[in-house]
Symmetry: C2
Subunit: 353 residues, 2 copies
DNA sequence: AGTGATACTTGACACGTTTCAATCAGTGGA
DNA sequence: TCCACTGATTGAAACGTGTCAAGTATCACT
């Protein structure tokens, strides 16, 4: 009934701040709660004088609207969940920035979680976000199948897959054509005059790795019609710098020795470059190197790294647009927005063998 | 019957999901809502048979607890806000990962926002987070003063400053000793036998830049007692690669020419390296280079970049711990957790002049 | 059978907000 | 003076959950 200490000035020592409600504001302004609510939500229908009085009361009391109550009453949560595989990977943070830029403009706050490839963690985050009644979820699924996301679909939580395709009636998705990317990189090396290259791949359980491999093979098949081309394949357990560095030995001992190596991502390529530098193998004269992802740091190396650029920021923007459409448009249809990768040629591959 | 409806692809129209409440579960299980609540929150006090029946009903209905209602009733939001200057900066994402690792274990979900140095954006995010009743906020303030955060303090929202010190009675904070870091780097160069170095700084409006400069001056003062040491200071408007590259000309034209340059961060250093490479100046023989931040990519350059490492991940962990203490411990006292930077010596500075 | 104790279950209320039908005050017209 | 009308304000209901005093059923023991 009578609240303790309402409006008492908070001292540094005693943290006796009691949340101020719309009722407190009403009391101070000498109006009803309904009027306060109207001032906040439909200022036009309330008389000028009252409005001023209420706003003043809001100011003096330091009122901050309680979103939970608002939402419970039927309002929207203005929250979107984002679930990625790894926040420390620049590709994902760029995507996040893209999504953020679109969604913040619409008044949304983003919840971010990083699964580190763990299906269990993913499930737990998605669960938590559903409990928070997020209006939608952007997600890079950790598992190969989409079984774990079935609940989202049946419960009608708007969901957009990031860098992962889904069947048309399941989810919206934004993707990059990895087959095309692999093809671009391989073609470039062949065009530069290389005939024997190595495709240095990551684990083929990862879809991106499979697709890029397929692109490389496609390029080999297409170009071999004129003159023989060859791409040996080499695969390691993870897409890290360390794995890249460790495999250099194997590449150099191949007979006949390849003249170029195409890496499944930039981290592998950075490792390769490091390994080569320590063995005094010149790049690109002795061995040309191409990466994938176009991390900003690749351009600062000497030689600068040729790479396949993925429009991460734009991916995020597109995902946000799809989500907003699904949230607002009753006639929304799921669809896939597919981006084209782009080859960025730099010094590490610009000399003919 | 159970086939998908091929004729009409699904639109939003067919999303006939109505939110399942605790009341629906109660009806299905044939008990009261109170019992369902008990099963969910204090399973021990409800009879085995009833509990099983209720859990089964939860399963079949697909019930997901509404956090807003829970919280409105007096529960906690299990949400923490994180506000950083730039999500695409690896330093901040590492810090985020650190905080995430601690907070997720405690069942918290994180809201992330990136201010891009804008005080207005910061204010708007903090406001939104307060409306969401986050239990606490980790923030890298955009403004020089902490005026904009005064509201957080008076309202008693637990807040921890990231990489920014506050007066003892204001907020908790986690920081790295930038004075010490600047001193470490400068001392290292002097110890290697350099006597005339350049301190290549960013804008001194940034606290970190001021502190690092102070460290450099301290090293000069201390070591000059034996034999003369000198550090010219040079400052540019932003800590970017481009600014680093552009300033190379000025450094090379100094008379007498310095033998080493210490940069206020790694991005500047990367730019300097690039500029030097294009002018055939050898590193470290002609000019030694030291950076700050120890971005992972600096170690991959040749020559690899000497740098001052900041324990970003640990910073995040510490911030989370401070926040949790402030949230849970009634006798919490604000304090500063200060980390020591660490010099990582690599090839770019390992030769005497 | 009566008594008390034990073990569950119930149902109303509170949380802070929005909404909406109802009320009130004021104005102008007849 | 009465009526109709407009514009402004009110007050109570509802959202989904957790709590807790009060209730019921069951059982053991005399």
């Amino acid at each position: 009934m009578t609240r303790k200490n309402r409006g008492a000035p908070p001292t540094n020592e005693s943290r006796t701040w009691v949340p101020v409600t719309i009722r407190d504001v009403a009391k101070v302004a000498g109006v009803s709660t309904g009027t306060v609510s109207n001032v906040l939500n439909r200022p036009d229908i309330v008389a000028e004088a009252t409005r001023r009085r209420v706003l003043e009361a809001v100011e003096t009391t330091g009122f901050i609207r309680n979103t939970q109550a608002y939402q419970l009453r039927g309002g929207r949560s203005h929250t979107v969940g984002v679930v990625v595989l790894d926040v420390s990977n620049p590709f994902f943070t760029e995507m996040f920035r893209g999504a953020e830029s679109s969604l913040q403009a619409e008044g949304y706050v983003l919840m971010l979680a990083s699964t580190d490839d763990s299906v269990e963690r993913e499930a737990s985050f998605v669960r938590a976000m559903e409990e928070h009644r997020v209006e939608g979820i952007l997600i890079t699924p950790a598992a190969a199948d989409l079984e774990g996301l079935a609940g989202l679909r049946t419960r009608g939580v708007p969901t957009v897959l990031l860098d992962r395709k889904a069947a048309a009636d399941e989810f919206c998705s934004v993707t990059v054509d990895d087959v095309r990317g692999g093809e671009l990189a391989a073609r470039h090396l062949f065009d530069m005059g290389h005939t024997r290259i190595v495709f240095f791949n990551g684990p083929t359980t990862i879809r991106q790795c499979r697709d890029r491999r397929q692109g490389v093979r496609k390029a080999v098949r297409a170009l071999s019609k004129r003159s023989p081309r060859e791409a040996s394949e080499l695969s390691v357990g993870a897409l890290t710098v360390r794995h890249g560095e460790e495999v250099v030995e194997r590449i150099l001992s191949m007979v006949p020795r390849p003249t170029a190596v195409m890496c499944a991502n930039d981290l592998l390529a950075l490792g390769v470059l490091r390994g080569l530098a320590s063995r005094d193998v010149r790049v690109p004269e002795d061995l040309a190197v191409v990466g994938y992802d176009d991390l900003i740091f690749g351009s600062m190396l000497s030689p600068a790294l040729t790479s396949v650029r993925q429009p991460a920021f734009e991916l995020g923007v597109a995902a946000a647009e799809l989500l907003l459409d699904e949230v607002r448009n009753p006639e929304h249809r799921h669809r896939e927005v597919r981006f084209e990768p782009e080859l960025v040629v730099r010094a590490s591959s610009s000399t003919a063998p």
